[in-house]
Amino acid sequence: AAGVIQSPRHLIKEKRETATLKCYPIPRHDTVYWYQQGPGQDPQFLISFYEKMQSDKGSIPDRFSAQQFSDYHSELNMSSLELGDSALYFCASSLLLRPRLTGKDEKLFFGSGTQLSVL
């Protein structure tokens, strides 16, 4: 079965540089989430999109932005990178609306993550 695809798998950047992370959700999933996980920490929600519209926003710095495109893939853009941005960035997708109406399983599926290191 198709899974959530993230690229790149690893990324090394210098301070003040920019980075773009990409996410391809599971086909037919209508919701994409971005999470940030620091070393030894739990995943923290950044931002989500439902049907290509931003649906919720968490602790995402103003230096970060994200969007979801017509083909449902999403990109997380990070500018003016800081050392503290070093983390594992996860994208996840789910099928949100219909299961809420029918009571079906609505698991959240995560990609393998992008390990960002800012030097």
Binding site: D56, E106, L108, F109
Partner: protein, 110 residues
């Protein structure tokens, strides 16, 4: 926001032993999921279980929504069960993303 507490924070088991991991949450939820993060960092969805009991092989989970807790049972543990187990919940009111607990770090030794 909603609070999610997991216990124990760390657990070391001999291979073959059984264990119970607990997740307490501070508000009514309409979504609760258990995840396993393996040593390579991958997050695997184990259960979607806002209420009731489910079983999948050696793993089972029970959520008592009225008492605001969920339990994950691991039987006959194997070294491949090692990693961090996260409970994540979504509040009943509103379309909000999952909030994760701090996790239980499990080490299974041969």
């Amino acid at each position: 926001g909603i609070q999610v507490e997991q216990s124990p924070p760390d657990l070391i088991l001999q291979e073959g032993a059984n264990s119970t991991l607990r997740c307490n949450f501070s508000d009514s939820v309409n979504n609760l999921q258990w995840f396993h993060q393996n040593p390579w960092g991958q997050l695997i969805n184990l259960f979607y279980i806002p209420s009731g009991t489910k079983q999948n092989g050696r793993l089972s989970a029970t959520t008592v929504a009225t008492e605001r807790y969920s339990l994950l049972y691991i039987s006959s543990s194997q070294t491949t069960d090692s990693g961090v187990y996260f409970c994540a919940v979504e509040r009943w009111a509103g379309n909000t993303p999952l909030v994760f607990g701090k996790g239980t770090r499990l080490s299974v030794i041969a």
